[in-house]
Amino acid sequence: MTCAYAVRGALGKISGVESVEVSLNKGLATMKLRPGNTIGLGQVWDTIKNNGFTTKDTRVVARGEVVEANGKPHLKLTGTDQVFNLVPDPKAKQVFELVKKQIGRSVVVEGRMTPVAIEVQTIRDPEKGK
């Protein structure tokens, strides 16, 4: 049993995961998730750690409602009550101007993840671009 197989198996057991691809050569694990999942990043990071690996970077595609708190936009994942700060990606600052106009609306955002924030790289209407 290779380490990649173990990591893939462990991540695949998380409820709500549709598929997992792991490449240790590239140092990359890609998880596609089922609609309606309630997966939290904490359990993903813990699974990686428990299988002997360290997460260096996390990028997400997330659907949620943009809400305002303390004058700043956040993404609310109502299925898990998770709320993440939305912050500008240094390489895509113009995208963040769109984010601020989406308060109260459902969007799909892509970006780099930190424990409490998403650096927004792209944002789109969830009903488009599928």
Binding site: C3, V7, L24, G27, L28, A29, T30, M31, K32, L33, P35, G36, N37, T38, I39, L41, V44, I48, G52, F53, T54, T55, K56, D57, T58, R59, V60, V61, A62, R63, G64, E65, K76, L77, T78, G79, T80, S106, V108, P126
Partner: protein
């Protein structure tokens, strides 16, 4: 009449259901601790 009620009820239900909110994909850059 029944069909109308069914369509109306379904429309109402869709309208009050919360929009889906979730992670769709997670990409992780990882390295091993051998």
């Amino acid at each position: 009449m029944k069909r109308y009620l069914a369509v109306f009820s379904l429309s109402l239900l869709v309208g009050i259901l919360p929009a889906r909110a979730e992670f769709q994909q997670i990409d992780l850059t990882i390295f091993g601790m051998d």
